[in-house]
């Protein structure tokens, strides 16, 4: 069993409601993703998917517990250091891909590099885009690219800083069925080629069905289970 690249232990997170009441969103005893593993996380609305992603990526600090990414406990770091870990260790693919509209495909990849520890590497950015068949679209802006091409830019950008894990948040939610399969194939193939772990958060069973490991948030997040009841 390869060592875990993500490991959560006794993680709790709650939010204050406008009335002052606190609502538990995450209550996870243990959760781990092995290096190079491909995992689908299923969850309904309100199951804490986004909060879990925010906690793993260091955007949000948990109230308690350990969040270890590639050996670094994010829960003990200040925000700036968590940002640095996110830039270096994690690649993010969002719903609707969230490319920067004013930047070309190449610049979208270079921007991600700008926040990592290494220097922006133009040649690597071009190679990443060429690897997803966008070598001829380097200088096109998102609006000038098809949906499929935008997906590929998002995947290339996620790999910009040689991450250990790619986190994909509902990457198929806003696209038609034909493109859904392309996105999943692209993510899995590319992450396999780069030896990167992949965590795809989805509410679509047909998407999670394609992953060797599937987890339902409700099964390991006690807070979600409470809400479901």
């Amino acid at each position: 069993m390869p060592p875990p690249v993500i490991q959560l232990e006794k993680v709790r997170k709650s939010f204050a409601m406008p009335g002052g009441e606190r609502v538990d969103v995450l209550d996870i005893d243990t959760f781990a993703v092995a290096s190079g593993e491909h995992l689908a996380l299923e969850g309904q609305s309100g199951s804490g998917k986004s909060t879990l992603l925010n906690v793993i990526s260091g955007i949000t600090r948990p109230d308690a517990g350990r969040v270890v990414v590639d050996g670094i406990d994010l829960a003990r770091l200040d925000e700036a250091r968590r940002d640095r870990v996110r830039a270096d260790k994690l690649g993010m693919v969002f719903q609707s891909f969230n490319l920067l509209p004013g930047f070309t495909a190449l610049e979208n990849v270079l921007v991600a590099m700008a926040f990592g520890s290494g220097r922006p590497d133009r040649a690597r950015a071009m190679a990443l885009l060429a690897a997803v068949d966008l070598g001829h679209r380097l200088h096109h802006r998102p609006a000038e690219l098809s949906t499929g091409q935008q997906q590929r830019v998002a995947v290339a950008r996620a790999l910009a800083n040689r991450p250990r894990v790619v986190l994909a948040d509902e990457p198929t939610a806003s696209i038609d069925a034909a493109h859904q399969q392309q996105v999943i194939d692209l993510l899995r193939t590319t992450c396999t080629e780069h030896g990167v772990a992949l965590v795809v958060v989805t509410h679509a069973p047909e998407v999670s069905a394609q992953f060797p490991r599937r987890l339902r948030l409700e099964d390991f997040n006690r807070a979600a289970a409470v809400h479901q009841r």
Binding site: A80, F115, D169, E170
Partner: protein, 440 residues
């Protein structure tokens, strides 16, 4: 791609908004630059005029400032005239008919008489003698030089020397005749004089002057001082034995006397000048004015406050332009929030997004500021010929007010940072999860 590149890309992403913001800033800065440069030119015009190789002006009692403005800058009206006898008091024995030193001769280095009241077209005519160009110097201490011809001779009654602006404007050449008019540019036409010399440009009011031999000037209609009833004018001999006889001393007056005071043995020149000035002012016949002091007072009283008011107004224009930066950035903050959230999710620290917004504002300020600087100087260059013609100072693209202009860009940068602070802090506080993740 670094933060500068990201900020530049953000600007290019909104070409219309960014362009209009930079343009409004450029117009504000252009106004400030044009005001600063023009103000400094006006000041230079006055300062250059106050150092014309003489340090004192003697004229009829009245406003010393009017005396200076009229004599040095060839503007405003002459006060009155002083008698020929009084002028003689500044001359040494060798230059006086009675062979005795004048009362003030010991304190006087050079005394040059001027007579005013005539015009040629819109230019002032100054009656004087050959000492004006022979013994006085230009503002820079250099002797007067001629682009063509030479100084007139005292014996050549109807000769004149014209300034560079007069020659350029009217197309006059050496040998051309010109007839001054009495009292105004549409007054009675006098006898013709002949241009014998055209002065090299001095960038002083001299460039706008028409200088004629005062002997010829005196002989024009209305220029002789009326004698009391029963007094007959003495008949003078022609200076060179030919031509018309000069006007008698009793009928002569001068408008002003330009003095270069002498250095008395054992006394600093300033004290000599002060002593002479006091002596003249205490007398009943005339007043003595120090051009430098008068001009400094004029600058302090009128020009500098006016410049300050103009600067305040234009400063407000720049402030409004800076508000444009704020409005433009606040206006695009919704669009920016999503971009900022994406960048934060990619690993950008809060400091990165804060810096990006501030750099964006600074780029707009520097871009707009530089464009405005160029535009401001272009405005000065465009109105340069008009300034040169009216103020008698060189005004071109490279005319500058270095001290104030050097402060402009740092000031703009600070202003832009201040204006962008609010949107930058909003970007700093952007909630990433709100903008990126779906429900769940």
């Amino acid at each position: 791609m670094n933060l500068l590149g990201i900020a530049w890309r953000n600007i290019r992403q909104r070409p219309l908004t960014s362009g209009l913001t930079a343009l409004s800033l450029a117009l504000g800065v252009a106004l400030v630059v044009a005001t600063l440069v023009t103000g400094s030119l006006v000041q230079r015009a006055f300062e250059s005029g106050s150092g014309l190789g003489y340090n004192m002006i003697v004229g009829a009692k009245g406003s010393p400032l009017q005396l200076v403005l009229n004599t040095v800058y060839l503007i405003s009206r002459p006060i009155e005239n002083v008698g020929w006898d009084f002028y003689q008091e500044f001359l040494p024995a060798a230059r006086r008919a009675d062979g005795i030193d004048g009362k003030y001769a010991a304190s006087t280095g050079v005394a040059v008489p001027t007579c005013m009241g005539d015009y040629y077209r819109s230019f002032r005519v100054v009656g004087t003698n050959a000492d004006f160009f022979g013994r006085l110097t230009r503002g820079d201490g250099e002797p007067f030089r001629f682009t063509s011809g030479e100084n007139f001779r005292d014996a050549d009654f109807f000769a004149g020397v014209i300034g560079a602006t007069v020659a350029e404007t009217l197309g006059l050449k050496v040998g051309d005749p010109f007839s001054p008019t009495h009292g105004a540019d549409d007054g009675k036409v006098h006898d013709p004089f002949k241009v014998v010399g055209i002065l090299e440009r001095t960038w002083t009011p001299i460039d706008r002057g028409v200088f004629v031999n005062m002997e010829g000037f005196y002989l024009q209609d209305g220029h002789a001082k009326p004698l009391p009833d029963g007094v007959e004018p003495e008949v003078s001999q022609a200076l060179a034995g030919e031509g018309p006889a000069p006007l008698s001393a009793a009928q002569r007056e001068v408008t002003a006397i330009l003095l270069e005071t002498a250095s008395l043995p054992g006394l600093p020149p300033e004290l000599t000048a002060m002593g002479l000035r006091t002596a003249i002012n205490e007398g009943g016949e005339a007043q003595a004015a120090l051009p430098v002091a008068e001009i400094r007072q004029l600058l302090d009283l009128f020009v500098r406050p006016l410049e300050l008011v103009l600067l305040l107004v234009t400063g407000l224009v720049v402030l409004v332009s800076a508000l444009g930066i704020l409005i433009s950035m606040v206006g695009s903050s919704l669009e920016r929030s999503r971009d900022v959230a994406i960048m934060r999710a990619l690993g950008a620290r809060r400091g990165h997004v804060l810096a990006t917004v501030l750099i964006e504002a600074v780029l707009l300020a520097v871009g707009g500021g530089l464009a405005g600087w160029v535009l401001g100087h272009a405005i000065v260059a465009a109105i340069g010929p008009w300034i040169a013609a009216n103020a008698g100072v060189r005004a071109g693209f490279f005319s500058s007010a270095p001290a104030a202009e050097a402060l402009l860009v740092p000031f703009l940068v600070l202003l832009a940072i201040a204006a962008a602070l609010l949107p930058a802090l909003a970007a700093y506080r952007t909630d990433v999860s709100r903008w990126l993740h779906g429900p769940g």
